[in-house]
């Protein structure tokens, strides 16, 4: 099987580039991305999505906390009913159990229905090496088997292939010229595989659930192939992970409410096959079918006890985290996982397939959080990916560039001195404009997809004493500003625009000058200790002021301060309390304007300027703010919605430097969508996104005015 390069960043980048240049893949995944979102929305209408997802999360967590007990119960119940239950510590052990059963029963041909766990252990290769004929009967799996590839999606393994490619493969396989009519191709597979079902003397299936109360398992398929491989051959081997154990039928059925909906926007798959014990068989001597269930551990029992990673054991393998991932959309599954694909694939690669294989892959997440909002089991996937990076740093140490980043950003004064120095040093490259005219040499040529903003000649902190709003005798609110690096040093005008509004509304504003970077960029590269020291200093610098709110105009800072500070200090009592207090005060600009200040249309002059909106990831998902900014825009201008407003812009901080080709492709599609609205202005709640979208627009010579929502509002104040 072709294995994607995952050990060298430069080779991995090259492979990613190949995907980006694959026109069919791009078109097909693009369509899938937009179709999936629409279909998912439709299928979850009138359904208590959050309620059911919470239920699954709670029951899976509880199950994993008593995994051993459930396993023993399952084994006892299943064996009572004539099934043999095996447990394998490693992938190799699991494969060997299957080979052993095959050998004892003189098996020659094996028909398989879909099982991701067998992909994980590379069971096919193991059996084929030992002389067995193994055939996949799920259409997608069979297609990739013919091609010697791995799946590029957990549910649609051949999504990367076109009908033309498949017609060629089928022509080769059948020796008969096949045209590219999809309905015909399916019938070719139907006829070809029927013979395999009949000839097989062992059937291997997966199991989507394993119910401890009565030792039953269930598989979900659309093609019905699991019903066949568990019926036609005299031996059935179910191959599954320990994570599929669940106490009761009710809990198993609850997970089936979500799995097909989330995977393929179906109410239920065509077939759900429940197997509880060994039923009859016409072709065995004792008239009983031989049924084996193999539970693969391969690290699972350890993961189940891990305080952070145990959450990943909830995964039902629906593939939704890939379906909404802007990176998957561009590069496809072969470049976004080892065996398991998508966000959960990055995590499972680390847990099941060696840290070496995960080192590079784990970097290919832009942290847009789209996966978190669709996970069938409510797994906080972005958090777990951060955890993978953290542990990789612990294990492999920091790279040289990260050591530098840690040293510089960990020391606020040094960082700020450096930025100040940069504002002079860059003159030759900006020629006094707001963009850098030529890229610094240290960047790769592919970074050329956007113009980079210049460092402001005077940072916000250096202007503070001059721009500080007048103190109101009867203040409407008493707030502090958290500036964040992008606005402090690149776009101070965005903060100054907000100050103008705050002053006119009688808000008292403070700017504690000891604040620095929020530390999100450091967290993204796994430098947790430096994150903590930066975070402690930030919290300490705000602790004395009795602020009603700490307002930030940067959604990324806001989401990080509000959601992650508490998470990282949970085991440090002094700072845990400070973090709870600090986080509770964090408010993004738009929410503060609408909900605290009660700003309405009456506060503005409404123009007929056509304005469109980019919903920053950390605004709409991180902080879950969606209504307020759109209301604010409609108060002052003609708001024209764009397609995919809440899809990531491709910035992701250092991501856009590490994976410039991907970042550039994402921003260009975003800009296409904004251009299509006919708007003359584009606003957002995050200066990071401004860097990306303003720079991208400039590069494309678009005339659209790109900026922060605060600037739009300040210009139109009454």
């Amino acid at each position: 099987m072709h294995v994607v390069e995952r050990k060298s960043m430069s080779k991995y980048r090259k492979e990613v580039k190949e995907s980006l240049d694959d026109k069919f893949l791009r078109k097909s995944l693009d369509k899938f991305f937009t179709d999936y979102r629409a279909n998912r929305e439709r299928i979850f209408t009138d359904f208590d999505e959050k309620g059911v997802i919470d239920k699954i999360a709670i029951s899976k967590d509880a199950a994993m906390s008593r995994l051993e007990e459930l396993y023993l119960q399952f084994k006892e119940e299943a064996e009572k009913r004539g099934v043999t239950v095996h447990r394998a510590d490693t992938a190799e052990d699991a494969n060997a159990i299957v080979a052993d059963i095959a050998k004892k029963n003189n098996v020659k041909r094996i028909a398989k229905s879909k099982s991701m766990t067998t992909e994980e252990t590379q069971l096919n290769t193991y059996l084929i090496d030992r002389g067995y004929d193994v055939i996949e009967t799920d259409l997608g799996e069979w297609i990739i088997q013919l091609r010697g590839e791995g799946p590029s999606h957990m549910v649609m393994p051949a999504i990367h292939l076109s009908r033309d490619q498949i017609a060629k493969d089928f022509t080769k396989e059948t020796g008969i010229e096949q045209d590219n009519d999809i309905q015909r191709l399916v019938k070719v597979a139907r006829a070809r595989l029927r013979k395999e079902f009949i000839a097989a003397d062992m059937g291997i299936s997966g199991a989507n659930v394993a119910v401890a109360e009565n030792g039953s398992i269930a598989t979900l398929t659309n093609e019905g192939n699991a019903r066949l491989v568990t019926t036609l051959p005299k031996i059935h081997v179910a191959f599954t992970g320990l994570d599929k154990l669940i106490p009761t039928l009710e809990e198993a059925l609850t997970s089936m409410l979500i799995l097909p909906r989330n995977a393929t926007a179906q109410l239920l798959t065509s077939y759900v096959s429940w197997i509880c014990g060994a039923t009859n068989s016409e072709i065995t001597e004792d008239k009983k079918r031989q049924v084996h269930i193999i539970f693969v551990d391969n690290g699972r029992s350890k993961v189940a006890l891990d305080p952070v990673f145990s959450e990943v054991m909830r995964c039902v393998r629906c593939g939704a985290c890939a379906n909404v991932c802007p990176v998957y959309r561009l590069v496809g599954g072969h470049k976004m996982g080892y065996i398991y694909i998508g966000a959960v694939g990055l995590i499972l690669t680390y847990l099941y397939h060696g840290h070496d294989n995960a080192k590079i892959l784990a970097q290919n997440c832009i942290n847009c959080e789209a996966c978190r909002t669709v996970c069938a089991a409510g797994i906080d996937l972005p958090k777990l990916i951060r955890e993978v990076r953290l542990r990789l740093v612990k294990e492999y140490g920091s790279s040289v560039d990260r050591k530098l980043m840690k040293m510089v950003m960990g020391d606020r004064k040094m960082f700020h001195r450096l930025l100040k120095f940069a504002s002079y040093a860059q003159l030759p490259i900006t020629a006094g404009t707001k963009f850098q005219r030529h890229l610094p040499l240290m960047l790769f040529p592919s970074h050329n997809f956007r113009a980079l903003p210049a460092i402001a000649s005077k940072s916000f902190r250096d202007q503070w004493s001059k721009v500080k709003p007048k103190v109101s005798a009867k203040p409407k609110a008493n707030i502090a500003i958290f500036a964040g690096c992008a606005q402090d040093f690149m776009y101070p005008e965005q903060l100054i625009a907000a100050l103008k509004i705050f002053e006119s509304k009688g808000v008292n504003v403070s700017f504690p000058e000891d604040q620095g970077c929020c530390a999100l960029p450091l967290e993204m590269v796994g430098e947790r200790e430096t994150v903590k020291s930066v975070a402690r200093r930030n919290m300490d610098s705000f602790v004395d002021g009795n602020y009603d709110a700490i307002v930030t105009l940067c959604a990324s800072c806001g989401s990080f301060l509000k959601n992650v500070y508490q998470e990282i200090f949970h085991d440090e009592p002094e700072y845990a309390e400070k973090a709870t207090n600090f986080s509770s005060k964090i408010q993004d600009f738009s929410s503060f304007m609408r909900n605290t200040l009660g700003i309405t249309a009456d506060d503005f002059n409404k123009s007929d300027e056509k304005v469109t909106y980019h919903a920053a990831c950390h605004e709409c998902r991180g902080l879950e703010v969606t209504e307020e900014p759109r209301e604010l825009i409609s108060f002052v201008a003609d708001y024209v919605p764009a397609a995919e407003e809440d899809t990531c812009c491709g910035f992701g901080g250092t991501y856009s430097v590490k994976f410039a080709d991907i970042s550039g492709s994402i921003v260009n599609r975003k800009l296409d969508n904004f251009e299509a609205t006919g708007a003359t202005r584009l606003v957002m709640d995050c200066p990071g996104c401004v860097i990306q979208l303003k720079g991208g627009a400039k590069k494309r010579k678009m005339t659209m005015n790109v900026g922060h929502i605060a600037e739009l509002l300040a210009e139109n104040m009454k």
Binding site: G224, L253, T254, W274, C276, A278
Partner: protein
């Protein structure tokens, strides 16, 4: 006690969702009507494709997919209660359709239709809950081109969770193979284009009583 109104609503919901999953619904007044519906559908369909070699079976003309066809029409009634089977058998005998009761393994290349009973329906997804312990019955519902499933309207439940206790009871009786069947066999593995009839039936007809 479920009220009459609720029961009617569940039937309507089941029928509505059946359309979404390409399952056909036929409401039968009695067993005789059901039998003549089945016979009619089987007679009107294209001849069954022979998807594999079958010892002693004569091959008919090639289908539109270029596959040889079976000369006689066959319906498998494996696992169907005798009284119901007899009614279908009689109807079929008049029309020259052959009946398979067991030994389905002798017909693995495929046959026209099978008739089986669903114990419960699930309205939310138009799902048939089918006890499938018997190997012949399991094979007959998969190797056929058209699957007919009988369902008593009284046994239609609202959603998956409402069949949990039924499933538990059935699984308590001993080794059990139980299936939830929702529409015909399907795939979207090539370019995400829906194709009906992957490995199992090309059509599913739910006959409501």
């Amino acid at each position: 006690m479920v009220g009459e109104k609720t029961k009617t609503d569940l039937v309507a919901l089941f029928c509505e969702k059946a359309e979404v999953v390409s399952a056909k619904i036929y409401e039968a007044d009695d067993m005789k009507a059901a039998a003549s519906y089945i016979a009619k559908v089987v007679l009107e369909k294209d001849p069954c494709e022979l998807l594999a070699e079958e010892a002693g079976t004569e091959k008919g003309p090639l289908s539109k997919n270029g596959v040889p066809t079976r000369l006689d029409r066959h319906i498998a009634l494996s696992g169907l209660p005798v009284a119901k089977a007899k009614v279908i058998e009689k109807e079929c005998a008049d029309q020259g359709i052959k009946i398979i009761y067991d030994g389905v393994r002798n017909y693995l290349a495929g046959f026209d239709a099978s008739v089986a009973e669903a114990q419960f329906g699930i309205a939310d997804s138009a799902t048939c809950f089918v006890v499938s312990d018997d190997e012949n019955m399991r094979l007959s519902t998969m190797m056929c081109e058209i699957s007919f499933l009988f369902l008593d309207k009284k046994n239609i439940r609202k959603d998956l969770l409402e069949v949990a206790s039924d499933l538990r009871t059935i699984q308590k009786k001993g080794p059990a193979y139980t299936a939830f069947i929702t529409g015909p066999s399907r795939t979207a593995d090539i370019e995400r284009v829906l194709a009906i009839g992957a490995h199992g039936p090309l059509e599913l007809h739910v006959i409501l009583f």
